[in-house]
């Protein structure tokens, strides 16, 4: 592993690569600090730019955008009490309270340091854990892969938001769209309506750009006339070493929480931030300080939401299972570059994987410097009016989906997905399950059918292999736990409503 790491270090320490990481971070921080533009949208918008790039540079550009946007979301959370991304909602609680007292500078410094520590620790865990997990997953055959895909899909119930049935329907629609095109075993064209373009199936990248970026643009158009500008006084009060020492424990604990939650598919940065905030409050001696401007209340969610980044990479790279929408986009980016995420990735593309690891470490270090040096410059992004941003986002969606394969059909797919995405949101359907279904559908179906061919049609193949049984059990538990919880809660509220 050491030799691979040094090789990765040598590959990453080229000026082009370093530049790409920095550009990615700058774009990410700008996007993240714009309320309404999430990490997912940022990564989806920048994704097409990477098609023409080398694998390492392209992926690291996206990694930079991803890391930067998670961090950037906290800037506006602290300065104007508007979390740029849902992940920084917890940061706003104490961050804005500090800013109101004129201590924005201090809060921003804590957020920067905590983010860096969280990010760094999670990448270190990633480097240590991922290869072992990949090694284990190498033994997987068709039934295990089927169970794994089902497990990946089972997280739909925990990312469904308000209505479980709507989330499940969205996931199933994604699965159904995934069946369009040639059938994976017999090669029979399904649901193609005699269209040549549909023969190869619906590409999930334009769908993703449409669902996450274009539909948001349509939505922003509605809210265009309700935006507001807030001015804030920032005094130059710096963080003292003494104060920093008090925060180290909180940062480390929160990083651990974040990394662990990040590893679980379906639980994302927003959840980890709130869990870490809660834990920091529980461990604190003066709990009443929280909510009124506690530095620990900034450090905890920031360390946690950034440490999710490294944790979320573990199932993505080793098993090929994206834990949330951002990692789903990253999965697409890897596949476009010819890097199929999964256990084989470490065998076939070891040097590239380790270069990515080193790049992620560097991205976190750069974030520290960028953050400490120019944090307040980024808040200037907020001065760009939404009216100007929206047409630019739509144009980027169009060019982006076109450049995927110089195919105008992909642009049409993007637009249709954007319109559908808009109405899904109106009817309170979550969009991420569709992507999950679209990505994992083919993996599930082909491995399901391959298993049955292996066992000559005997269904018991899924109940006699130990790893398959364990994975299927976890999948069932993951799928039904939130449903049971919801039912219990409704009973307690006396509503008696199912799902």
């Amino acid at each position: 592993m050491m030799s691979l790491l040094t090789e990765g270090l040598a590959n990453a320490l080229q000026w082009q690569v370093l530049l790409v990481i920095i550009i990615g971070l700058l774009i990410g921080i700008s996007i993240g600090s714009l309320p309404g533009l999430t990490s997912t949208m940022g990564v989806a918008l920048i994704l097409p730019v990477t098609f023409g790039m080398e694998a390492v540079s392209g992926i690291l550009l996206l990694v930079g955008v991803y890391f930067g946007s998670v961090y950037g979301g906290s800037l506006t959370a602290i300065l104007i009490n508007t979390p740029g991304t849902p992940a920084s909602a917890a940061t706003a609680l104490d961050g804005f309270a500090l800013a109101k007292r004129g201590l924005a500078n201090k809060a921003l410094t804590v957020s920067t340091i905590a983010s860096t520590i969280g990010g760094l620790l999670s990448v270190i865990v990633l480097i240590l854990v991922a290869p072992q997990l990949a090694n284990f997953a190498l033994k997987f055959s068709a039934p295990e892969s089927f169970a794994l895909a089902l497990f990946g899909l089972s997280i739909v119930s925990s990312i469904s938001g308000k209505s479980m049935s709507k989330g499940l329907i969205a996931g199933l629609i994604g699965l159904l769209i995934a069946t369009i095109g040639l059938d994976p075993i017999g090669g029979f064209p399904r649901f193609t309506f005699d269209s040549m373009d549909l023969m190869t199936g619906v590409n999930f990248i334009p769908v993703m750009i449409g669902l996450f970026a274009a539909s948001e643009a349509f939505h922003s158009m509605e809210n265009l006339f309700s935006s507001r500008q807030v001015a804030m006084k920032v005094e130059k009060i710096k963080l003292k070493w003494q104060e920093f020492k008090m925060l180290i424990g909180t940062m480390l604990r929160s990083s651990g929480i974040g990394t662990f939650i990040g590893m679980i598919p379906g639980a994302g940065a927003d959840i980890s931030a709130f869990v870490a905030y809660n834990e920091a409050k529980r461990f604190s001696k003066n709990k009443e300080e929280f909510g009124k401007g506690a530095l620990k209340g900034v450090a905890a969610p920031e360390a946690a939401n950034n440490s999710v980044t490294g944790g979320a990479m573990i199932p993505l790279l080793t098993l090929g299972i994206p834990g949330d929408a951002v990692t789903a986009v990253l999965l697409g980016a890897l596949m476009v570059q010819g890097l199929q995420p999964g256990p084989m990735l470490f065998e076939t593309n070891g040097p590239i994987v380790y270069t990515l690891f080193v790049g992620m470490l560097l991205a976190n270090v750069f974030m520290l410097f960028i953050g400490l040096a120019g944090i307040r410059l980024f808040t200037k992004v907020l001065l760009i009016p939404k009216a100007v941003l929206i047409p630019m986002i739509i144009v980027l969606c169009v060019v982006g989906s076109y450049s995927l394969g110089n195919n105008y059909f992909d642009v049409v797919v993007m637009f249709v997905a954007g319109v559908i995405g808009y109405f899904l949101k109106k009817f309170e359907f979550p969009a991420s399950p569709i992507i999950l279904g679209l990505i994992l559908g083919p993996m599930m179906e082909s491995n399901f059918r391959r298993s049955l061919v292996m066992s000559e049609g005997d269904i018991s193949i899924f109940f006699t292999r130990p790893i398959t049984v364990v994975l299927l059990t976890i999948a069932i538990i993951t799928l039904f736990t939130p449903i049971f919880k919801a039912v219990l809660q409704n009973k307690r509220n006396g509503k008696g409503e199912l799902l």
Binding site: V49, F51, G52, M53, S165, K166, L168, I169, L172, I173, L175, L176, T179, D183, I185, G186, F188, R190, F191, A214, A217, F218, H219, M221, E222, N223, L224, P385, A387, V388, I390, P391, M392, I394, V395, V398, V399, Y402, S403, N406, Y408, V411, V412, F415, G418, Y422, K426, F427, E428, F429, E445, F448, R449, L452, V453, E456, G457, E497, L498, L499
Partner: protein, 147 residues
Amino acid sequence: MKIPNIISGVVVIMIAGFFYSLTFQFPETATQDVGPAFMPRVYCGLIVLLGGLLIIQGFRDQSKKEGTERTIGYALATMGFVLLYLILIPYLGFYLSTALFVFALLVFSKVRNKMALISVSLGTPLFIFVVFEKLLKVAIPLGSLFS
């Protein structure tokens, strides 16, 4: 009663039913394989089940009606603009269509500052040209009018 849930339940059931009916054209395969129609049928069946649940929920929901939004017109109009833009690209080419689209959308969102109107509608295609065509070597369609 929550009307949106009932509507969406009916819509997804109709979609699933339509796809289900199409699976009857799929061939049966060897006995070992479940065949190309199996999975789509499972998905459609589950969608119908959950869609039905959604409709029942919609009828049983006792929460008050939410205020109807009139702003949906803005979004629909934006989609109309995009549709027009996508129709224009094959004829006028990407760059000219983009400039027109951005300009139109800015005017629609009540941007009246002349400098902003001109710089953004010309700057956006220029940015695409530099980043995508020059740096990333994407072949941007020029349109039948110019080629």
